[in-house]
Structures are given as C-alpha cells and as structure tokens.
C-alpha cells in the first residue's frame, strides 16, 4: 500500500532518478484537546530526499501534526508508519532510533551548560575518555558546515548566547550524527530568530541535506522561504490538510488564498458600528517600545480595537505595558481608566486552580465586594450568579472548583472576572485560543454589547475572522505597528500581506 502512494507523489522525485522511499506516514490522524478538535483526520507523509513545506495559520494544526511525527503526542485516532513499518508504540525515543529529529519552537537546550555539553545530552555515545573534545568537534563541524563564520565556540555557555545563536546551536545539534541514523529533521520556524544572512545559510544547507537523500519538514511563516526551498507544500487549515501540491504549483497569492479561505465571511458586527458616537473620550494612547515612526495605538470609549499579525510579534507585550501603565505611569503610554485583562494562556496567566468559579471571578473586584472590612460572601455569590447568567457559564454550582468547567467555560469565567469589574478598558490577550465556536459567538455578542455601553476593548487575536468584530485594526510585525486598518478596509488578504511581508 505504501508503494501506491509513492507513485502518486509528484514534484519531489523529479530531482532524483532513484525511487524514493517513504520515511514517515500518518493516516487519518485525529487529535482532540478537550472539546477542541486540533486535527481532523489528516493524511500526511514524507519521502526520502524531499523537503516538505508546511504552512497554515496559527492554530491550523501544524504543530500538533509535527508533535505526532516526532513522537511527543500520540494521535487519538489514525496510524503512524515509519520506513514502511507500522509503529504501534511510537514515542520520542523510538523516533530518535528511527532517525527522526525535531527542532521545536521552544528551545530544548540547557542554558547552564556549554554548547558541547548540550550536544552530549542528545548523544549517549558521547561519553568516556575525551568526550568533551569529541562533542566539541562534532558540534563545531556541524556549525561550520551549516553556518560558516558562525562565531560560536563549543565552550560558550548557552545562556550567554543570543537567541539567534541558540537557535543556530539547536538546529546544528539536530543534524549531528553519532550512533542513531538520521533520516528526517522537522524544522519548526527555524528562521524566526535568525537574520536574513544566517537564515539563507540554513536553507541552503537544508537543500544540500535533501539533495543527499535526507528529508526535511519546513514550517515557516515566511512564505517566500517555503516557496523557494520546499519540493512540495502542504497547506493546513482548521485541523485539515486543504492543499498538497508541488511547490512549483503555488505562488504567493495562491498560498495566501488557500491558507485564509476564499469564502466570504459574514460581517456580523457591521450594523453595530453605525451607532457609535463620533467623538468619544480617549481611553488609551500607546506606542510600542520599538516604534520609531511615531505611530500610536489609539482607543476611545466604546471602541473595539483589534491587534492583529502573527503570534508573538509584540501584541501581548504592548497589552502588558498598557496594563502596567494603569498602575504606575509609563513613558509613551496614556491610560485614563481602570484596566482589566483577559488572559489567553489560562493556565499560566489566568486561573487560580485552588479556587471556586465564584472566587476566580471575584478576585478582580474584591474592593467592591466588601461589606465593611470583610468580603461579603453574599455579594461575591451575587456577582458570580449575575455573570453566570449573563455569559452563560454552564455549571450546577458556582462554588465548584474552576477546573470542573470545560476549557471554554473557564475562559468565560475569566471574561466574567474582567467584565464584572470596574474596568472601563478591557485588554484581551488572544482569549479565544482553543475555545469552541459556540462559546466564541456568545462572547462576541457580549463584547459588542459592552462596547456599546461605553467600554473599550483592546483585542489581540490570532484568528482573523474575530477581527470582524473590531472597529479598528492595528497589524503588528516585529514588535511594531505596520498597518492601521479601519473595519471597511479590513480583508484577510490585507492582514496576511502585511504580517507576512518578507523583510527586504
């Protein structure tokens, strides 16, 4: 059955005369995180001597798929085969034995060890007499091969290196070989911290590696990189593969279209805009730290302001700076009303795991819940019940632990915390990450309703359709505002064009 698929392949084997062997193949892979379907039955394969470009929006399912190939996640349904054999008990160490390596976005180097010592961690064979020399030679040779003039010493402590150099070490380490074979390297945004010169060196090396019979999966948001270097491009959207074709069959516009979807989205929020008063009081004026051209983010009462662009390009930073500026004055940021924040990363930024739903909602409003010196349990319960009704938190009892709720309902509780407070400005840090569509629609309505009452929302989102709810959208790139769109100018293509714009 594997052979049939190889024959169906196109593009890749055009470069090579020999028949290419399948390195890894997933059939019907599905993955759920709680109620959210991250992967909806994906078929995916890589053959030897092929560089597969994998593109898609944030949350399209690329990372989940790659974690499965690397063995760090197991699919809820579907099968994995490596080198033509079905793998029933696939794991990270099994993947390593079979020659599959992965360079994850989050770095997996020990900052307290040297470059050579970090190399040793991935190679059990580097031990015994003279191991430090051998490890240093191994990693130095690979660094020299990939990044000539890299300027990294094998004895540098990783914690002292810049992010870019750490990424170079991480990439080079993935290509070092001692005992185990090396067939496939997954590169997840390998160039995100590299400048154009080093990124070019890396991609040239990838081409050489592939020409020598190795395989690569290249995930990148820089579409030009993928178009120029991949043999075949797989496009994902909403947990599915929506296109897979030879790289030559794509151009930039086609990729953007396939990634974003072409069907017209209904503009649910359009009618709400008309009701807005012309001149409302200023609530926030903020300038990103790295903004040299004097562009400000401006938000007035009753406005919903969208912060768009790729994940991690300075949107959260700006929100946090605005949040901080509400407590004590900060240069370049003007905030004129109390602020509350709705966290996107619930576990690390939002939830208090020991507490009930009601307590989790009340924490932002403790001063108002007091009766004299003491917090009134009655008022706390009233606040919780009010918002349970208003935002539809599905639970029999608001005194239950917060973790008794589903992810979406936990997120609603965080919305209730912010909206139930005295804050006139609500900052939203991509709060709909991993939330089901039903919850989303309910929250969208509530946000518009609250904005109509005069509240200001600053809404960072990685999901483009959410921007339809906004009056005004700022697109971020590399920590700066690069575009400033009104709702009427807003199209998905425009946002993708500005945020994917390749650096000249």
């Amino acid at each position: 059955m594997a052979d049939a698929d190889v024959i169906r392949l196109n593009g890749a084997e055009k470069h090579f005369g020999a028949a290419n062997v399948e390195v890894v193949r997933l059939d019907g892979a599905e993955k759920y995180f709680g109620a959210v379907r991250a992967l909806a039955g994906v078929d995916f394969h890589v053959v030897s001597g092929e560089c597969v470009g994998l593109v898609g929006h944030n949350g399209a399912g690329k990372s989940t798929l790659m974690h499965m190939v690397a063995g760090t996640l197991t699919p809820d349904a579907g099968t994995i085969g490596v080198h033509g054999n079905a793998e029933a008990h696939y794991s990270v160490s099994r993947a390593q034995q079979l020659g599959i390596r992965c360079v994850f976005q989050e770095l997996s180097l020990c900052p307290n060890l040297s470059v050579a010592e970090n190399t040793r961690i991935n190679h059990a064979a580097l031990s015994g007499f003279g191991w430090r020399r051998r490890a240093a030679d191994l990693i130095s040779a690979k660094l020299d091969e990939i990044f000539p003039d890299h300027g990294i010493s094998a004895w540098d402590i990783v914690g002292d290196l810049s992010i870019g150099r750490r990424q170079m070490v991480e990439v080079a380490r993935a290509f070092t070989v001692t005992r185990d074979r090396l067939d496939l390297v997954i590169l997840d945004e390998p160039t995100s911290s590299l400048d154009a010169h080093t990124a070019g060196q890396l991609l040239a090396f990838v081409r050489r590696f592939v020409a020598g019979g190795g395989s690569c999966i290249l995930i990148s948001h820089v579409l030009g990189e993928v178009l120029r270097n991949a043999d075949r491009i797989v496009v994902m959207r909403d947990g599915k593969v929506v296109a897979s074709d030879a790289a030559g069959a794509f151009d930039r516009d086609r990729l953007v279209t396939v990634m974003g979807g072409t069907e017209a989205r209904e503009r649910t929020a359009a009618q709400a805009a008309a009701a807005k008063p012309g001149a409302s009081p200023l609530r926030v004026r903020a300038r990103p730290a790295g903004q040299a051209d004097g562009k400000d983010l401006v938000a007035c009462a009753g406005e919903i302001i969208g912060l768009a662009g790729l994940a991690g390009h300075g949107q959260t930073d700006l929100l946090l700076r605005i949040f901080d500026a509400a407590a004590r004055a900060k240069a370049g940021i003007e905030v004129t009303a109390p602020v509350a924040l709705v966290a996107g990363d619930r576990q690390s930024d939002g939830i208090f795991p020991q507490w009930s739903i009601a307590q989790n909602i009340g924490i932002r409003s403790l001063a108002r819940l007091r009766n004299g010196l003491l917090i009134s349990p009655r008022r706390e319960a009233e606040l919780a019940t009010l918002w349970q009704k208003k935002i539809g938190i599905r639970t029999p009892d608001m005194d239950n632990n917060i973790f008794s709720l589903s992810g979406g309902n936990q997120q609603k509780a965080l919305f209730a915390r912010a909206l139930g407070s005295d804050a006139e400005i609500v900052l939203m840090d991509d709060p709909m990450r991993g939330v089901d569509i039903g919850t989303k629609l309910e929250v969208y309505d509530l946000v518009r309703e609250e904005a109509a009452k005069g509240r200001t929302f600053l809404w960072y989102t990685t999901e483009t359709e959410e921007l339809d709810n906004c009056d005004h959208i700022y697109v971020f790139k590399n920590g700066r505002i690069v575009a400033n769109l009104t709702r009427d100018e807003l199209t998905e293509e425009k946002i993708i064009q500005s945020s994917f714009g390749d650096a000249a």
Binding site: S108, L113, I121, H313
Partner: protein, 325 residues
Amino acid sequence: MSAPIDNGFKGSAARNAAARARLLRGLLPALSLALVLAAIAWLNPRAISYFGFSLMLNLAIPIALATIAQMFVIAGNELDLSIGTFVGFVGCVTATWLKDAPLIGVAILAGSIGIYALLGALIHLRNLPSIVVTLGMSFVWQGLAILVLPKPGGKAPDWLLAIMSFKPPLIPFPIIAALLIAAVVHFGLMRTSYGAILRGSGGNPAALRRAGWSLLKTKIVLFALAGLFGVLSGMALIGITTSADANIGNGYTLLAIAGVILGGGEFVGGRVSPIGAVIGALTLALAASPLLTFMHIPPDWQVAANGAILIIVLAARVLISRRER
C-alpha cells in the same frame, strides 16, 4: 514573548558582555576570599604563615565538604535542610562505632548514604517539596545522633586523627585538602559526561527527559553524592575535634547553603560551581572567627560578619547582572 529578531553579528558584542559578566561573577568568590585574606594580613601579618593558616583554616575542611554536599542537592534544584544534623550524626557514629567496631561503623555510614539516595527517589517520585522532607530528616538524624552518643564524648579512630593532623611540608594541610576537594568534585561534576547530565537535570529537566534521560536516576545520584560528602564532612570534623557531640554539626546547614551561594551557585537552574563552593566555604570559615578576632571585634559579631559578607556579595552580584543588560 516578543519576537527577538536578533542579528547574529550584532549579538556578538552582547555575548562578550555576558561572558565577561559571567567571568566577573565567577571571580567574585575568589575576590571576596582575597579581600578577607588581605584584611587578615593587614591586621595581623603573622597570621599569614604556615602555622597561622593551619590554625585558621582548621575547621574549613568539614565546612567545605558539607558545602559540596549541599551543592549537589542544589544542582538538582532542591535544598537540604538536614545536612547539618546529618554531619552531627556521622560525627557521633565516627567517634563510637567506627572506632570500636569499624565494620559496623562502615556499614552504618554506607547505609546512611543509601537513605540519602532513597530520599532523592522519594522526592522525585512523589513530587515532594525537598525543604519539608529534609526538615523532617533533620529531626531524624539528630535523634539518631543522640541515640548513638547520648552525652558528648567518644573518640575519633586513630587513623582519622593521623590524617587530619597531617603536616605536609610548605603548604598547610587544610589548603591542600581544599584544593584536592575542589579538583576532584570539579572533575566529577564539570568534566565527566554524566556530570553534564546531572547539571542539565537542574538546567532544563524537560529537555533532558525528551532526550531520553531518567530524571529519577539523576536525582538519586545527586542525593547519594550529597550523602557521601556529608559522611566525609562528619568524619573530617571528628578527626579535628577528636570527640563528638550530637549537636556538633547543627550550624552547618545554614553555613553550607551560604557557602554554595557565596561561591556563585544559584538555587535553581543547575548553576553551581564546586571550586566556588569550596572558596565560599573557606571565606566563611575565615571570616567567621580569625578575621574578626584580629579586628578586635568581639566574638559576638562573628555571625553577623557571615551575614554581612553574604549580603555584600549578593549585592555585588546584582550590580554585575544589572550591567549585563
């Protein structure tokens, strides 16, 4: 969470600065030791002599060994609040069983290292806070010490006395011992291939597990090493004091923590330095009494000097780290 767009070449200046700051931080322990020595030399030149050092650094050996023990635990992001009473327990066993029935004595000490290893396993498997477990163990060791030696007394084995009163030519024994301890542990932890894994387990445990290493094993090894050096510390202590007392090591818990931190170690992240730890222990041993005696500062303020030195060194470290950014 910002996108650090870093130019590989612009980064080299920053990296050099970081390396320089690290070097400076690494020299800080040595610098503070030099400062204390200079002060002693200035106050009492006669102290800087073979005999003076033998006397002043006498107790530095057990302190250095206890500090190394604590350092192994800290390397794995844990903390041992029981090392002091453990040293006391070992001292009591050394002054009794090890002298009277050497085989049983050795078995007891080996068994106590085994208990340390078990503690490491327990802490890892049950995900327990090491502070509380070792706090409880500090009672256990103290209780056992009193059971072994209800009243101060006992006597060190003769061979141990002979070792500890060894008078090599030219260089006083405590200095040789300190150099030896530092060299051996430095080689073991900083130069061997498994030493890198041990330190990595404190630096990025998740990455280590992803690469297929057992974190249970690293924790057991680190705790067993702590037990081993605790045993050596207790034996060295009794070799100097000749007799034991169940409370003899109580002060070592805090001294050992202070020594590790003074020597450039950090509580989390696997950043420790054996050489620094030994230097930190020497600094504390010197600053504690000889320096202050020479300064005609009443013995009352000797403990304060330890605290002040800790605070000053940590403040210096903060200043250096500030310059780093």
